[in-house]
């Protein structure tokens, strides 16, 4: 389809929401200049490093083109992006907020930047960090970025469902090439079903923000939704369609015996999260996905299953050690000794030393394996198995170590910038020297969160004989001077190393990772609840009283059950009862932000 035609038809569809077609035409020239200048200055503030310079320059150059600005502004824009001038963002922000087209709805800038960033099917994590920053400056409500991404994806999908024959042919060609490449790259991934999914860019349509596309001027997408649309989609989501879950190790890679991605939530989104578990234990936390039940940082999330045999062994040892061999009093004493900060003077109790071999062996095995797994993960991310979209990595204990080594490996490779958005390392058993962490800043666009606990005697103990014992990231802040580095003292929540698994829900909230509860809070606090969605919900509620429909279907994905993973979340939807208090297993209602004050009590009232 001709792009112009597409734009016209989109205009019709979106009911005269043409204001957002291409922001470049809606804004006056000075405001477009301010818009590009604002992005340039933000880029220089966010990514002042030399290695990022080419990205920043290319970004502003393309943006000038996208906004239909004269080429003569390029020197100034490039100067902004390289941090010259140092004017700050105030004037540009103020100017943009005064623009008649943006005054009432600065969201269009976010929307426009998303369209711009996706135009060639490559969603760089740095672009996403920039968009969040610019949106924040323009006081766009948080969460808008995700809605914009969602709506863009939806409208792209509309246009890509019926690709012409020529497109199909060229895609097939590309696909076979990709397939070949995949085989060459790892030589062990399965591509089953890849072709079928590949045709829709891997979009198994979830009921996501169905109305959103029409609400916030999805027309911006029209510019992209030409015949190029399908290529964009395929690129973003990984052309072979099989994606991360399709990645299976058929044989051992190096020393790794097990490496597999398990879906946590089965949505489709323009950014994904990968959670990495630190150990396995019997009972409630017997599976890799178990600690991550409340995680909802993106609607498409995976959990890395790795070396379960060894992690299970380690978990059992930890249990034995903490529940049997060491008594509670001794543990408390240890905790306080470490908290007091005199680690050097610490003499480990004889009772602990005698059983040291119990822990040292499985711990040592897992240490070396986690490093290997991390490196392997890095190469999978580099080969873009996940598609060309930003990835957030979250892990605790040895899982954090996997992430650390993944980032170290990425930092050694070229072209590894722009893949990782945020990383969260909780109780990481890795060295905490700022020098060692410095290379990580090159590959992480957003934040590097180090969550530590000063009283984690176990971590301190396993490092007792190592030279790094005074400098473990999981025990203290990493003193790296970079805007990305965020250190968080979690001592008040984490009483011991095992708490990282048990308190995951609280920890995630503490470090600013979105959980199911946050999503709901965001929903109720959304400043501009789109009227259409609200209307739809009402009608839904009226139509079927008995069915519990959460107010936000977009965040209501069913947890995915996989064959090897027996642990699933129970479906608790008790919102029809006002003031629901969760259930006896301690799991809270998925729709409730808290026990006492059910935010959807009103909804419940309506359905009663």
């Amino acid at each position: 389809m001709d792009p112009g035609q597409a734009a016209v038809s989109m205009q019709d569809e979106s009911d005269g929401k043409a204001a957002a077609v291409v922001l470049g035409r809606a804004l006056s020239e000075p405001d477009r200049f301010a818009y590009a200048g604002l992005c340039g200055i933000c880029l220089s503030q966010l990514f002042p490093e030399k290695e990022q310079r080419s990205f920043c320059t290319k970004f502003v150059e393309d943006l000038v083109d996208w906004l239909d600005l004269s080429k003569s502004v390029l020197p100034a824009m490039v100067a902004f992006a390289s941090g010259l001038g140092g004017e700050g963002t105030d004037t540009f922000t103020k100017l943009l907020l005064e623009d008649p087209a943006l005054k009432s709805n600065p969201t269009v800038v976010t929307q426009d930047l998303v369209s711009f960033s996706l135009r060639d099917g490559f969603y760089d994590s740095r672009s996403r960090v920039l968009i969040s920053h610019v949106s924040w400056l323009l006081r766009v409500p948080p969460g808008t970025l995700e809605i914009c991404e969602e709506s863009l994806m939806q409208s792209l999908k509309q246009h890509t469902e019926e690709p012409s024959e020529s497109v199909q042919a060229s895609r097939k060609k590309k696909e076979s090439r990709k397939k070949l490449k995949r085989y060459l790259l790892i030589g062990l991934a399965t591509v089953g079903g890849g072709t079928v999914i590949g045709l829709t860019g891997g979009l198994a349509a979830p009921l996501v923000a169905a109305g959103a596309a029409t609400i916030i001027g999805s027309a911006g997408a029209a510019a992209l939704a030409s015949t190029a649309g399908i290529a964009i989609m395929a690129s973003l989501f990984g052309a072979a369609g099989a994606g991360l879950t399709g990645y299976k190790m058929k044989k051992r890679v190096g020393a790794i015996e097990e490496f597999e991605f398990l879906p946590l939530t089965g949505g489709r989104q323009l950014h994904i999260s990968i959670a990495i578990t630190g150990w396995l234990s019997t009972g409630k936390y017997g599976s890799f996905v178990a600690p991550w039940q409340s995680l909802l940082h993106s609607s498409e999330q995976y959990c890395l299953a790795w070396e379960s045999k060894y992690l299970m062994e380690l978990g059992n040892t930890l249990d034995t050690l903490l529940n049997g061999l060491m008594n509670v009093v001794a543990q408390e004493a240890l905790k306080f000794t470490i908290l007091s900060g005199i680690v050097t003077a610490l003499t480990w109790p004889a009772s602990l030393i005698t059983v040291a071999s119990v822990i040292d062996n499985p711990w040592g095995v897992c240490l070396s394996r986690s490093a290997e797994v991390g490196k392997h993960l890095a190469h999978i991310l580099l080969s873009r198995q996940q598609g060309r979209r930003p990835v957030t990595l979250i892990g605790f204990s040895l899982g954090a170590r996997v992430i650390y080594f993944c980032l170290q490996e990425l930092a050694q490779e070229s072209g590894s910038e722009g893949i990782i958005e945020d990383v969260v390392l909780l109780g990481a058993p890795v060295e905490g020297d700022a020098d060692r962490w410095e290379p990580l800043t090159r590959v992480v666009a957003g934040r590097i969160v180090n969550g530590y606990c000063r009283g984690d005697w176990l971590l301190s103990f396993v490092y007792r004989s190592s030279s790094a014992k005074l400098n473990v990231a999981g025990l203290q802040p990493v003193l790296l001077k970079d805007r990305r580095m965020v250190n968080m003292d979690l001592s008040s929540v984490v009483k011991g190393h095992l708490d990282y698994m048990k308190q995951m829900d609280t920890l995630l909230k503490a470090v600013g990772i979105k959980t199911k509860e946050c999503r709901l809070g965001e929903q109720s606090g959304l400043l501009y609840q789109p009227p259409v969605i609200a209307a739809q919900q009402e009608s839904k509620l009226v139509a079927n009283d008995s069915v519990d429909t959460g107010p936000d279907s977009s965040w209501d994905w069913e947890p995915v059950t996989t064959g090897r993973d027996s642990h699933t979340v129970e479906q608790i939807n008790c919102c029809s009862v006002k003031g629901c208090a969760g259930n006896e297993t301690g799991q809270r209602c998925r729709n409730c932000a808290n026990n006492n004050d059910c935010p959807f009590g009103e909804l419940g009232g309506a359905s009663q």
Binding site: S28, E29, P30, F33, A34, G37, V73, P75, G85, D90
Partner: protein, 206 residues
Amino acid sequence: MEEDILTTLKILIIGESGVGKSSLLLRFTDDTFDPELAATIGVDFKVKTISVDGNKAKLAIWDTAGQERFRTLTPSYYRGAQGVILVYDVTRRDTFTRLDNWLNELETYCTRNDIVKMLVGNKIDKENREVDRNEGLKFARKHSMLFIEASAKTRDGVQCAFEELVEKIIQTPGLWESETNNRGVRLSNEDGGGRGGSCSGYCSVL
């Protein structure tokens, strides 16, 4: 090369639309002249290293748009500037009378009060002069600015304008030292009197 550079200075060029700000800059940086130069959009940016009294200074020059519609953008450029070049057209009296507005704006947005100002009367090659040299000189003296008349077309006074400005900035203590973070203070050229003879005909340091 980088080692020799004493400091990086931020210079701003302001003035009414069409007085020849971009032409002055183009003459200074590229030594060319384009009679059909298009109006500047937003702001233009150029870098040039010049040597004044044996000191190398890197100039980051921001050439602002004179057009009214871009006026709202200008406040952001004033911040941190060490020198400003205020341009008027000697053949258009209105551009001279509006200088007061520009000085007001400078006063409002400029972050430092010791900024070095230079007044440039452009287009002296043209026949139909409306503003006399003495008028310009008087205005400049009143507002304690440097003054020069120039022509971007004939090259007259352009180089001198920038050199003069930079020299004055370097001579002003506290204006640029803070900008050089790692280099020690080098104030060896305090006398600074030995100016090139070619310039003295035009410049009058006030």
